[in-house]
């Protein structure tokens, strides 16, 4: 087994003639929490889409726990222990909160495509779903359809669905986007609590969230990972400063 939960080796991705990811390399240790930052359009979300199998890569290699995930479908990658959330809330909006979470744990508990078992009779599904529901603080919303939750609640549910299946590697795409200060503080606490002992990768714009959560920061500029280091070192990194002072985003102010 590799010591890296996730490893990107010179990953490239082109859409037509436009190369969006231009040889990104990144190594994430097991249990590490890495924030990916970078100016808009740098390819952060694309990188996530490549890692989670939403798009195929053009060249290079992505290793999950030491084995390549080249050409695998999202569900296959998920079954190997990688789960992701989305920038735009992606939940089952016509199902209740409870049903959303039940769906999220079914595969990992081994029920697969069963049509011979009664869902209400599955104790472990019930307990795990309940557990996650309590952690994300939505017990009182149990029977409410997910579509009618508030935005912050939907974001919490999104994280709940992502984590519920017990994946070891968690990818969160801008988990606090569009939240108020207090909401995003609560979200940070929630993420910290839910990802204990797991490998976390997240795209985030909010620097207070980044510095509050991350062990390491990876800076993506123009489809490349130009630096990946501890928050302190990143602050002092000349390359990063140049990239940001190049007029893409006011990093110092935000930090």
């Amino acid at each position: 087994m590799s010591q890296f939960a996730l490893e990107l080796k010179d990953v490239r991705k082109s859409f037509g003639s436009a190369e969006i990811i231009r040889g990104a390399s990144l190594q994430v240790l097991k249990g590490e929490r890495v924030a990916i930052i970078g100016p808009n359009g740098a390819g952060k979300s694309t990188l996530f889409n490549l890692i989670s199998g939403r798009f195929g890569i053009s060249s290079g290699e992505i290793l999950l726990n030491g084995s390549s995930i080249q050409g695998l479908a999202p569900y296959q990658i998920n079954r190997r222990g990688l789960s992701r959330s989305f920038q735009i809330t992606n939940i089952f909006h016509r199902l209740s909160v409870y049903e959303n979470l039940r769906c999220a744990v079914l595969w990992s508990l081994g029920y697969k495509y069963s049509f011979w078992q009664r869902l209400n009779g599955l104790k472990d599904v019930h307990e795990l779903a309940n557990n996650v529901m309590e952690q994300i603080g939505l017990q009182t919303r149990r029977h409410i359809t997910a579509g009618s939750l508030t935005y912050a609640e939907q974001r919490a549910l999104e994280i709940g669905i992502t984590v519920a299946g017990g994946a070891e590697v968690i990818l969160l795409d801008e988990p606090t986007a569009g939240m108020s200060r207090s909401e995003s503080d609560a979200a940070v606490e929630l993420i910290r609590k839910m990802t204990i002992g797991k490998t976390l990768l997240m795209v985030e714009h909010d620097m207070s969230v980044v510095f509050g959560l991350a062990d390491k920061i990876a800076v993506v500029v123009y489809g490349e990972v130009i630096a990946c280091d501890t928050p302190q070192s990143i602050r002092q990194n000349q390359q990063v400063k140049d990239a940001y002072l190049g007029g893409h985003a006011p990093m110092e102010n935000a930090a």
């Binding site: 992701r84 769906c103 495509y113 049509f115 869902l119 299946g165």
Partner: protein, 426 residues
């Protein structure tokens, strides 16, 4: 909490018990003329509609070719009956629906593999192609499909079991009722299994379903196979009921009908297609006895449902039940009866005009008399036309003025209920 669960399951059992009783006593209550035949048709259509709704309501898969599975099931059932009558097979009539079901399932495995590769519009298009394909085949293989005349059979075959020959319609009705009950229980149970829940998830958000470990194509495929099985059972029962199966059974027309009826009944509710089957038989079989314009009414009714009550009859019922439960009926009543009166006037005026128009163009000079609800009207006189126009006008104007008030009252009552529900849960 335990108590709650217990009382819940007792409630569910009571509903099933009530359903069984209803099936048993229905032919005793409706015992006139053709009602037994209508009940039998409703029964098969219910199974067919429920199986269709596994795809549309629960899976978000709009199939234009569901009759392929019921129709092919019916053909296999009819051949099985003929073989049994010839002594080649030993299979009792009561198990013939199972032959239909297995045949439907087989073709579900075959065709479903292709159709469920895609979802959404593409899925619909492929199913449309599929049903045309099978329909074309039905004329290419007359040995199996019987060409224009179809394949006929005789359901009275083999030795009677406990005196049951399936000759009398009442025996066929109870056979249908039995299979309806079993199929309904099974299909309802399906909605409470892991796969049954995941097909809802795939309907809501296929992409998310992929990212929690599910192959959405496989979820759709398995659901379609199960759905095709029950469609085949419905086909087998209709083969027994009518003793004839023609190419029409595998046609796009038949597929469209089940879509229409299920939608009218309400695809968002498990029992919606059952209401739809009742409405469907009324609208096609009974209404066609009364008027030549029945297809026009069916079309208008369908459009009305799609536009104003997308939840179907079940949805209308559910929302009024909610109004009643939260004691809002008194609040909406004044606006409600006014809009109903206006609507009734418009509808009666429109029906009058349509009937007279049909009489005028079909009856010609020889038969100038249109009979509407026992009243004879001469379609070449101006008076009836004026009355029809006046009814439409008064109704229309009334509707225009009452609808805004009704919508306002309705929405405010709904909003109050929403608040009450949120409070109750918090």
């Amino acid at each position: 909490m335990k108590r709650h669960i217990l009382s819940h399951s007792v409630g569910t059992l009571l509903v099933w018990f009530g359903f069984a009783v209803l099936l048993i006593v229905a032919p005793k209550v409706f015992n006139q003329g053709a009602s037994l035949s209508l009940l039998s048709q409703m029964g098969t259509l219910m199974i067919f509609g429920l199986s269709f709704n596994m795809l549309l309501g629960q899976g978000g898969m709009l199939s234009f070719g569901h009759a392929v599975y019921s129709g092919l099931g019916a053909f296999f059932a009819v051949h099985a009956m003929n073989l049994a009558a010839a002594g080649v097979l030993t299979i009792p009539v009561s198990l013939i629906p199972l032959v239909g079901g297995l045949a439907g399932m087989l073709f579900g495995i075959l065709f479903g593999y292709v159709t469920t590769k895609k979802s959404g519009t593409t899925f619909s298009m492929i199913t449309l192609g599929m049903v045309e394909l099978v329909f074309a085949c039905s004329l290419m293989f007359p040995k199996f499909f019987g060409g224009e005349g179809g394949i006929s059979t005789n359901r009275v075959m083999g030795n009677p079991f406990l005196g049951i020959t399936f000759g009398p319609q009442i025996e066929v009705y109870y056979l249908i009722a039995f299979w309806l009950f079993v199929s309904t229980v099974a299909m309802f149970a399906f909605t409470h299994t892991p796969l049954g829940r995941m097909i809802n998830a795939v309907r809501d958000n296929p992409e998310r379903a992929e990212f929690i470990g599910y192959d959405t194509q496989w979820v759709r495929y398995l659901t379609l196979i199960i759905s095709a099985f029950f469609a085949g059972i419905a086909g087998g029962l209709s083969a027994i009921n009518f003793e004839i199966v023609t190419a029409e059974n595998v046609s796009a027309l038949r597929s469209g009908a089940v879509l229409l009826f299920s939608f009218i009944g309400g695809i968002g509710y498990f029992y919606g297609p059952m209401i739809g089957a009742v409405a469907g038989v009324f609208l096609t079989v009974m209404l066609s006895d009364f008027t030549k314009a029945w297809q026009l009414y069916l079309g208008i009714f369908f459009i009305f449902i799609v536009m104003f009550a997308p939840g179907g009859i079940a949805g209308i019922w559910a929302s009024y039940y909610r109004m009643f439960k939260f004691r809002k009926m008194r609040q909406i009543w004044p606006a409600f009866w006014k809009i109903c009166c206006a609507g009734l006037l418009t509808v009666s005026g429109a029906i009058m005009a349509i009937e007279m128009l049909y009489q005028r163009s079909l009856g010609g000079d020889q038969e100038p008399i249109a009979k509407i609800a026992g009243v004879s009207l001469n379609v070449f006189e101006s008076m009836p036309w004026c009355i029809a126009a006046l009814l439409c006008l008064i109704g229309g104007v009334g509707f225009f003025f009452t609808q805004r008030r009704f919508i306002a009252v309705w929405n405010s009552a709904m909003a109050e209920i929403e608040v009450a529900i949120l409070k109750g849960d918090a």
